[in-house]
Symmetry: C2
Subunit: 250 residues, 2 copies
């Protein structure tokens, strides 16, 4: 049997076409489409992929990272071309490279960046329904930035984690929350060492409540300290969220 | 019975969510969604709408125009709000106004503008799949402009019309074909008094063949004169096409 080579691929997908990343009995998933394409290239042999993490239904990715192992002796250009020809239009391999056999897309990730897009114009835009969240209220950006500053750093993010999450340690480090205002679009860019389930969406949902005056920026302190999901704001919808970039050492 | 008032509405829709404008037995259509919303506002009475023209499955609209009649005594603001609350996310009423009872969205249209978007980067972009056509070839824009100039004016456009079309008179006037190059996107803006079925998509498909060197710009003359659909290029896909604006006198 030929030796296995590990590959790392950066993939991009329009999440509105999928029921999320992870394989499930019903619905199209990113993992299933990738593994189906890989099986076609391996004469129906099952080739498993490992992602840097899951994304929920409707959540997009500009730079999700996966790894897989294969005995096929083909160039990275042939890999990219071959897989892209088999994948559907809403999913694409952006980049592919050979990596050491101990590289791990999830365990070796050192930092992730998410982007969340919100638009505030009064009339909803049918072309943005799947790609940004409509929040037609006037927002105080200074207050949002003030609140965001309380979240940056190493904290117990229990209040900003889906109550269903089963992970025990909910301490995470948020390195930066950047806010940009481009025409009528407000873009949150959130970078950190790791994120809990729904953490970015609950952070954005809470910051929007601060921006529209429903909460004070300084409330964030008490929300963090309370360690209770009920204290934070609503979970912002999935369609505004993009897994933007995953960083690895070296 | 209350007197009927005629209304003109400008609507916008993401065509990727629909099987086209016109009602049909299977599949979501724009007409069906609008008439369902109107029926809800009229205690299940059927209220028919008339559009400026049909759009095919996957074709978008930024400024499609419709008209309908109603006995309801509500303000145009209430109309807009009421209908938008009942319509799905991919379809929106942008503007609504009272018009004379003899206004007709189709017969009174004096000019229409279509936009067609093409992107040329090598790797396909999953976020543009439904919204622009991927044509990863280098294009000679000067040749496209030269070819476009042959199409401007009043001509028999039989060669640029779906062979299935049942209309007899295929003479139409194209007032302008504008070409813009924005980053990696090529945008065709085509304005004319009226368009035959698939006319814009066949024009764009043929111009792309000129741009990539498969045809000469001057071939357009012979294609027009031949009056034969077989002479023109491929029909460009629907997802790059937008019905942009419909003009009326006065």
């Amino acid at each position: 049997m030929a030796e296995l080579q590990r590959y790392k691929a950066v993939i991009s997908y329009d999440g509105s076409a999928f029921s999320g990343f992870q394989i499930q009995p019903n619905g199209r998933t990113i993992q299933a489409e990738l593994e189906k394409a890989l099986a076609k290239m391996h004469k129906s042999e099952i080739v498993k992929i490992v992602g840097s993490g899951r994304t929920d239904a409707g959540v997009h990715a500009k730079g999700q990272v996966i790894h897989f192992d294969s005995p096929l002796q083909i160039s990275v250009e042939q890999w990219k071309k071959g897989l892209n020809a088999l994948l559907s239009h809403e999913l694409v391999i952006m980049n592919l490279e050979k990596v050491a056999s101990n590289f791990h897309a999830r365990f070796d990730a050192t930092e992730k960046t998410y982007v969340y897009k919100v638009y505030t114009q009064k009339t909803r835009d049918p072309f943005r329904y799947h790609y940004a969240t409509h929040y037609p209220f006037s927002l105080n950006l200074d207050q949002i930035e003030l609140a965001a500053n309380y979240l940056v750093g190493t904290h117990d993010f229990t209040s900003f984690c889906s109550a269903k999450a089963e992970v025990l340690n909910k301490v995470r480090t948020v390195r930066e929350i950047k806010l940009e205002n481009m025409r009528d679009e407000l873009i949150f860019t959130i970078t950190g060492s790791g994120f809990l389930h729904n953490m970015v969406r609950i952070i954005v949902g809470t910051l929007l409540e601060v921006g529209s005056g429903k909460r004070n920026a300084s409330d964030i302190l008490g929300i963090l300290q309370g360690c209770d999901r009920q204290l934070a704001g609503k979970t912002a919808p999935p369609q505004g969220l993009y897994l933007w970039k995953v960083e690895y050492n070296g």
